[in-house]
Symmetry: C2
Subunit: 664 residues, 2 copies
């Protein structure tokens, strides 16, 4: 079957580029696939809500799949609408009406190849429950033959399904004439359609096996219920985002299910980024023994052709790290190696898709000679093309010569556009204006700080003024916010300064990982060592203020706490849901190698929670970014009321509580 | 009963201010209430997540209610935790553990008065479904006697209940020993507790009557189910936000239910703002005939004492507009009068609570002499106190003398702090720096705009630089973003400029309503006519650019479209979910009084959707604001992927679709 996959690679490229596939290739592929039982796994990258774009793409795949006589062609969850469409369909129901029209037209071009296309199904204006189902239509021979509806609605982290769709009361295929009028009361009125071959489910429907998971999010298990149909093959239409370590879980779970039910499992996943959320593709097939039989590429559109019953498939490699992470444990570690290729590809896709889908082309960013802007520059050059990136070194009186030359060297190495533009006139003018203004305000208001962050922020905001100016002046260009996750957690970023921008590529990458990432980039990109060693070696600091103790620019770790310690707090909160009192009793990785007094630890923990409480506001105005880690502060993923920021995360003893209540 | 309410007003003030209530007042109230059947409706304003703050408040009410021998004391939904706590409890489960400790301590201080306190109930680590229930504990005689769990989980608009809690499988009271271990499988194991008197439900549980609503969001109706217990009184613990026209709906619905079941209905609502969401209180009682028997104050904490079976209650007035809106129809109208007092009180509470709960005190804003900043200044003065507001007029070369004097006059009228600070040096320096920079960039990049918004934005950003500078330099102070809803819809606001700030008071008020609001403020505030007439009369414009046609500052309506037309589009999308093709066939209010050609209408509609598509990014970084209208673009309420911005909101004909699919 080598030949099948060789030819498919050619066909894929043409499909993606909207070119015709030469008839000799089609003929040769068909000579293999017309024997029956071949499944096309169409891992596509839709634009949410853009029905014309998505339908045209789907139509091209349908025409091709039909021409090579595939048995069935499977698209991801909500393929026609794109996932997640979010509240858009509640406010603009026209889009749902239109998606039915497009679906009907797609049905008309189908032939003998069965096609599974996800769409948003209206439920009738007065039906009880939400207005819509998340459905998959079964298209064949010019018409819609049946429909499957999603039962389990993920509503946590980046998922909000229950905001806009109703869970299906049943599993399996219902007749096409139930579309638009199916609810819990009509379940009994219709016979289930089932051809004895494929059991079809949608995404979360396969994530609730009671034996595999210790903790289940739902009572029902649709796969278990479908098993009563004794299907030959399970098919799942998915839109499942990538997260660190999720690959391991997904692999183990799908393998478990297929072997548990002694039934091959075909899992077709969406690819591409939707704002902050990244879908990695990597669609796959497990055989009836739970063995991986096929896997599509990661982070690329592909039509992978498989035949599970004849054990025909091809396993494309996952990104390097994902393979390794299959065996890793869930502990905090500074060994990031196993996740760096995935991180790289996730962010690259995130940038590329955001720009493409928003009609943008170019990015401008400040190059400070520090780690954050450096890594951002590399990622932008690799995703947008070096000619579309402009790096600007904007030194102030505090900026060292090393920073300037490091920035210049980096830009040269990357081949991006570069210039140096001093912000000193901006600082001078702003400082002068503000000093006058402060004197006036001081006449009316007390509480002027003796040592404020105003001078620091003037620098950061002057730089943002330059970047936004370029964005306003040149078409299709946005400035980049270079803040990293560790510093955002601490609110160590300037509003309208370095944290402002059209996109924030590394907002979900912790600082200790960024160091490893920088080294990885130097070793793994085609051009080796693009990042000057000096940038990786220097201790991070914003170069906005002088440390009175050293007379040199303030080092961030001195203002905050050691990054290793900080990143472990973050990791433990996000991954283990631990809190202040737990931390006191846990030995941090940092503590294994450094002597930390109890007082010092308490000081850092107190500082962490104090700073985080005021960072919540900054999180709420953070530009779109790429969710990379298992959990994040991205507002698509996590929302905490700002007014709850100053709450107590420490345990209070019952005696103390009793006393407080008594005195109240 | 006049005396009861007279004394209660005194007691309320003392309770709110954490003062002891003199024993003679307690004795006199008790002489009335000890006869039995009296219910205390404790409409409190919690800080979400702040268990100590909330528990102390609850404890004070419990002690007082017990001392006057009330039969039952009812707190709002999730009173101990505050609603909505959002994702906080998923990430920081320590807060849930702690809320159980506080609840147990509260139980210990109870006596013969039954107390209903909302709390977050853990479900056991391995229970199927979400980790928590949204529950109400029944406290009495030193212990927890029972528990009620919420069945219907609102998950739309500002509600996200299903993100963090599991729906209860049953209605009614379960035994206290089910706390922490109750799930669908254990329902049968426990007898329902019921004393034949009160049927208790939580918020959304009472919003699903099948006869009242044409469209029901859920299959179950908990109130109908509870009715099988033949209760003497229904009690509902709520946290229901205010929205325009919602008062009318709520009034009609509660009246319908109480008369439908011939059972009095006691509805206790939270008061206060949580970030963007405003709870109005206005707790109330309807008698068995659906007649309003009692209603607590709007936008104030209160303990309203009632006796539904003896028809004892007091009806406090709603805000003026709310009364009127009870009879109004759902059509677009420029007659905003009926909603202006509610709008005023909602925003005042929103500002006050955001500042208080975040530990802030003072606000600084730019006063342009235009309507937006003017209305903001009035609202800030009234909510924070005039001494805590600093208005700064920041003229540029485009600013007219009238604008400057109007701003000064306004500040004088309000008595707020005021100064004038020119931004001309900032503009000169920035422009010079940027011009040099642009020349450099132009050497590498094509696509420099011939006429860009750069000069406009430099002005807006220079002003923001001043305001954020003051915020950095003076304690407890944030700058105010003055953008209004109409302009935000059109992206007519500068990033890092006028749309940046710590809070955005009028981000959900459309421009045509702002005009009416300004007049209302002039007529209804104690100090009449604080807003100079000239500010209301002038046509809005940002005064950032000169219109080449007139040689005068550009008028916003010329750059956009008439505000009356714009606001009707917005209203129709949000309230009627109408779209482009509908609009073509609808006669707008503006068209009734102005001749609008079809071409003109199409031009405005196209501009609307084009501008809205690029405004989505700006919506995502908008500071916290106050949701005022029935629907909004506030990200607590509405989320649309930015990458879906450029989709087609127009209907495409089936023939056209067919042709596109064919050619794909």
């Amino acid at each position: 079957m080598e030949r099948l996959y060789e030819l498919s690679e050619i066909a894929d490229k043409l499909l993606i580029n909207e070119k015709d596939i030469p008839s000799d290739i089609v003929d040769e592929i068909r000579s293999i696939t017309e024997s029956g039982g071949f499944i096309g796994m169409a891992q596509i990258n839709p634009i949410v809500g853009n029905l014309e774009y998505n339908a045209k793409k789907i139509a091209r795949y349908i025409k091709y799949a039909t021409s090579i006589k595939l048995d069935i062609l499977v698209f991801p969850e909500l393929a026609l609408m794109g996932y997640p469409i979010e509240d858009t369909i509640a406010r603009h129901p026209i889009i749902v009406e239109e998606n039915i029209k497009w679906l009907n037209s797609l049905a008309k071009i189908t032939g003998d190849t069965t096609v599974l296309v996800g769409f948003v199904e209206p439920r009738g204006k007065y039906a009880e429950g939400k207005l819509y189902y998340n459905s998959v239509a079964i298209l064949r021979r010019g018409k819609i033959e049946g429909v499957v509806r999603k039962s389990l609605l993920p509503t946590y982290s980046e998922f909000n399904d229950y905001r806009y769709v109703e869970p299906s009361p049943v599993v399996g295929v219902q007749p096409a004439d139930t579309i638009g009028n199916f609810d819990a009361y009509s379940v009994e009125d219709y016979p289930k359609l089932y051809d004895g071959k494929y059991a079809i489910s949608i995404c979360e429907d396969c994530w609730n096996n009671k034996e595999f998971f210790d903790k289940n999010l739902y009572y029902k298990d649709p796969i278990e219920e479908l098993q009563s149909e004794v299907p030959l093959i399970h098919i799942n239409c998915s839109a499942s985002p990538t997260r660190v370590k999720k690959e391991q879980l997904k692999h183990n779970m799908l393998s478990f299910i297929s072997s548990h039910y002694k039934t091959p499992f075909v899992y077709v996943n969406q690819v591409g980024a939707v704002d902050n959320i990244s879908f990695d593709g990597s669609s796959r097939v497990f055989d009836r023994n739970g063995k991986l039989l096929a896997r599509a590429k990661s982070f690329e559109e592909q039509l992978l052709i498989v035949n599970p019953l004849k054990s025909i498939g091809k396993i494309y490699p996952l990104t390097k790290g994902l393979e390794k992470s299959l065996t890793e444990q869930k502990v905090f570690t500074l060994e990031y190696e196993s996740d760096l290729e995935r991180t790289y590809k996730t962010i690259l896709q995130g940038i590329r898709d955001y720009f493409k889908k928003c009609g943008l082309k170019r990015a401008v960013l400040g190059l400070s000679g520090g780690l954050d802007s450096t890594v951002c520059a590399v990622l932008l050059a690799d995703s947008l093309g070096k000619e579309n990136v402009f790096g600007i070194s904007m030194p102030s009186h505090i900026t060292s010569d090393e920073s300037k030359s490091d920035a210049r060297q980096l830009a040269e190495n990357l081949g991006i556009n570069f210039t140096e533009a001093t912000i000193r006139p901006m600082i001078d003018t702003t400082t002068e204006c503000l000093n006058d203004l402060f004197k006036t305000v001081e006449n009316s208001w007390e509480g002027r700080y003796k040592a404020s962050f105003t001078p620091d922020n003037i620098q950061a905001r002057s730089r943002a003024m330059f970047l936004w100016g370029i964005s306003n002046e040149f078409s299709s260009c946005i400035p980049i916010a270079t803040s990293d996750k560790s510093e955002l957690y601490m609110g160590y970023a300037t509003i309208n300064g370095d944290m402002s921008g059209g996109f924030a590529p590394i907002a979900d990458v912790p600082k200790t990982k960024l160091f490893a990432f920088a080294r990885w980039l130097n070793e793994n990109r085609e051009e080796k060592n693009a990042i000057p060693e000096a940038i990786i070696l220097k201790r991070p600091g914003a170069e906005l203020a002088i440390d009175p103790k050293t007379g040199k620019p303030l080092i961030a770790e001195d203002a905050l706490m050691p990054y290793e310690f900080l990143d472990e707090i973050i990791w433990r909160i996000e991954n283990k849901n631990e809190s202040y009192n737990d931390f006191l009793n846990i030995e941090f990785v940092y503590e294994k190698h450094n002597s930390v007094s109890k007082e010092q630890k308490i000081e850092w923990l107190d500082k962490f929670y104090r700073r985080m409480s005021t960072a919540l506001y900054k999180w709420s105005i953070l530009p779109p970014s790429v969710i990379v880690e298992a959990r994040s502060i991205n507002k698509s993923d996590y929302r905490q009321p700002i007014t709850s920021g100053r709450i107590n995360y420490k345990a209070v003893s019952s005696d103390e509580i009793k006393e407080i209540i008594k005195r109240a």
